[in-house]
């Protein structure tokens, strides 16, 4: 299982996904995972991620391939939720398997920076007064620039 890239419109079972990923990469010395969740911030009641079918998943697949080659990965898992999520729910799960731990860490960090600032996803939050689109953050652009 070299690259496992998915867009999911339902909740994901993190424990099962990581257990399967780990056992699929028995020979990898190191496995890093990142799980991003909806933070219960202030009055945010829900979060919605919309995507564009012809672009979003293909670009995520390209990103995973680039990460695999750049960091000599044995494999990578990139799962991203779309649709409506509530606080505490998983938004994104990334896992990387490599011979050496520094590569696994670097690849997970790289994947997350690019997913956050370059994936074809648009986010809005529902607060007490309705839905609000989220603008790109300057921090995200700085994060991605680290890899240039």
């Amino acid at each position: 299982m070299p690259l496992d890239v998915r867009l999911l419109d339902k909740g994901l079972s993190v424990g099962e996904a990581l257990a399967a990923f780990n056992s699929a990469h028995g020979a990898a010395g190191g496995v890093v995972s990142f799980l991003g969740k909806v933070r219960p911030d202030g009055d945010v009641r829900a979060l919605e991620l919309s995507h564009y079918e012809p672009l979003t998943l293909p670009a995520m697949r390209e990103l995973a391939k680039t990460a695999r080659d750049r960091f000599a990965l044995d494999g990578a898992l990139v799962w991203h939720r779309i649709g409506v999520m509530t606080p505490g729910e998983a938004i994104v799960l990334v896992a990387t398997a490599a011979r050496h731990r520094r590569d696994a860490f670097g690849a997970a960090d790289y994947l997350m920076d690019h997913l956050k600032s370059a994936a074809w996803l648009w986010k809005r939050e529902r607060r007490a007064d309705g839905w609000h689109w989220i603008e790109p953050r300057g921090q995200d652009r700085e994060d991605i620039a680290r890899w240039d």
Binding site: S50, H80, L121, W122, I134, E135, P136
Partner: protein
Amino acid sequence: MAVTILFLGPLRDLAGQQTMEVEAPLNWSGLLEAVRPEVAGQLGEQRVNVACAGKVLADKTELQAEDGDEVALLPPVSGG
């Protein structure tokens, strides 16, 4: 057949609709005329991209959409 214009993310609210159909062919100036002025204003911004038939255009002003093509207007992404 026609060209379908698809409004993504916040552009959907600005357009007041998710999709619209216009006659083919459609080029850049035709696109700017077809959409509301607020959307046309956004399209002028560098960080707003345009995809045609599933490909992001390197230069959106060279848009040449044919019968059956979908033209997607892509505002800046806000990530996961």
